[in-house]
């Protein structure tokens, strides 16, 4: 029996409790929304999460740092590379080896992370179109995402859960010809974004469904801990890649798109969608620059070993450390407590972006139509694997 937060005995005669999910395609996974409705109007919304709770933090207290990486993969299963990158960065800083990582390794990490960012945004955009009733963009997005999946399969052997970025290095160097394939992909994909703009971004049905819907004011977004496209959609240029300047991002040239309210109000669903589209263009710019460096001064050499700096024993000094990084959904943070004696973290808490982003939903859902609620939920772009961990 599913629990309800609302007290049914106090319901008015025109009110009704509606359970949305957990098994419904527009819930983007297993999320249950308990809606208090009055006709078509949502009066209150209570999200129930935890259906995909896989005890990441409990597992992490039993495994060594290297062994946690596959679990980190499975948190936000659409952006495994980015999850690993942040995790590995935290462990490397705790070990004090973050300055010794070869440039080529860092550039490959950023290259695959940005490819993964595009793949994740493609799913977000494609499924968002489908939520609102546009079928074609979904297929177009998945067709283009397939190229990235194939490239990752080539590099790491897996299509979704890569376990590619390791503490102190990489699983393998990128395969011969990978750089050229990245270039081909950039050339192929850039016109596809313009095509997507014509079919979805400027589509009047889509604009009518998303503009001025679910407006999230900036102060509310900050107060609820929203990050990533949610926060930038509300008009703030806040991107941890620039704020923290981690990895090789300071050497790369890219812009941070922020919502301007072009179609309606700043912070509406359309703005959040638009920020994702613009971020794909920025990621393409980053990929081009990475490939350029990887083919010129950081060229592959026969003696290059991506595992050269990998520590034999991964035992950080006793300390607490919080690392944060920008994944496509927002701020992903890991909080480690190392005891200084073992390879196993004493505590490893994951602060996931979708978790905080989703917590703002009741605020946005009050007083909207049920069909708008779907548009709002889609624009948040949650992955339940990350919400529930």
């Amino acid at each position: 029996m599913a629990e309800l937060k609302t007290d049914i005995s106090t319901l008015k005669s025109e009110e009704m409790i509606l359970n949305m999910g957990p098994q419904h395609p527009s819930m983007h996974g297993v999320l249950r929304l308990e809606l208090l409705t009055d006709g078509e109007i949502v009066k209150d919304c209570v999200p129930h999460i935890g259906y995909l709770h896989r005890c990441f933090e409990k597992h992490a207290e039993k495994l060594s740092y290297g062994q946690i990486i596959p679990f980190a993969d499975r948190m936000d299963y659409l952006t495994s590379m980015n999850n690993d990158h942040v995790f590995v960065m935290g462990v490397e800083r705790m070990l004090g080896i973050d300055k010794e990582i070869p440039k080529r390794v860092e550039y490959i990490r950023v290259l695959v992370c940005e490819l993964n960012r595009i793949a994740s945004h493609l799913v977000a955009i494609g499924t968002y179109g489908m939520d609102i009733g546009a079928w074609t963009p979904f297929f177009w997005c998945f067709r283009d995402r397939e190229h990235i999946m194939n490239m990752f399969e080539w590099a790491s052997g897996a299509r979704l859960l890569y376990n590619y970025i390791w503490v102190g290095g990489l699983f393998f160097d990128i395969p011969v010809g990978f750089e050229d394939r990245c270039k081909e992909f950039v050339d192929y994909f850039r016109p596809k974004i313009d095509e997507l703009d014509t079919i979805l971004t400027e589509n009047s049905i889509f604009v009518n469904r998303t503009a001025n819907v679910g407006v999230l004011p900036l102060n509310v977004a900050i107060n609820y801990g929203c990050s990533g496209p949610m926060l930038r959609g509300s008009g703030l240029k806040w991107d941890l890649r620039r704020v923290d300047n981690y990895s090789v991002y300071p050497e790369l040239d890219f812009d941070i798109p922020a919502g301007k309210g072009i179609a309606g109000t700043t912070g509406d669903c359309w703005d959040r969608y638009w920020v994702r589209v613009q971020e794909m263009r920025e990621s393409l710019k980053i990929i081009e620059q990475c490939v350029e460096r990887l083919q010129k001064d950081l060229k592959r050499s026969p003696d290059f070993d991506p595992r050269a700096k990998m520590p034999k024993k991964c035992i950080p000094k006793a300390q607490d450390f919080y690392i944060r990084g920008e994944i496509p959904k927002g701020e992903l943070g890991y909080y480690f407590i190392a005891d200084g004696k073992t390879e196993i973290p004493f505590r490893c808490k994951a602060r996931s972006a979708s978790f905080s982003n989703l917590s703002v939903l009741p605020e946005l859902a009050k007083g909207v139509m049920i069909s708008d609620l779907i548009a709002i939920l889609g624009s948040i772009d949650i992955v339940l694997g990350e919400v529930d961990r």
């Binding site: 999460i49 935890g50 607490d320 450390f321 919080y322 808490k349």
Partner: protein, 167 residues
Amino acid sequence: MNHFETARQLISVTLGSDTIVAEDAAQLQPSLTIRTERIAEVCLLLRDHPDTYYDFLSSLSGVDYGTEQAAMGVVYHLASIPYKTQLTLKVRFPFDRESGHMPEVPTTVNVWKSADWHEREAFDLFGIRFQDHPDLRRILCPADWEGHPLRKDYKTAETYQGIKIDF
């Protein structure tokens, strides 16, 4: 003066020097340990004061400091968007493992709304109770789950509602 020093002085001047129980400045990420009953005041001060503006709560984690320690804690990771700084606050309180008794921690939901779900998570996984929290229910585990799984002395459940749990 770095941002850590600014925050430390601001707290001790405004709320009294006994508010800060301990500080750990030697680490890679320095932290302040605050008296448990004052944490909400400290957070509100740090959020609103023009010198700090810690308006973003990155993360709130419950911690069980181990079976020998008889202590639990909550760790707050704050971020300031205008100043681009980060700060770690901690509270630490005694926990009697036999009786399960521990003091309540003042909620910070009134400071940051993001604390709502994070505090529910700390309650769910550690059993830490937050005073005046508007909706302290379990969030990740089912409502009828027994025990708090991330406590260090947690015994893995063998059955749930009469169903055997296989691993």
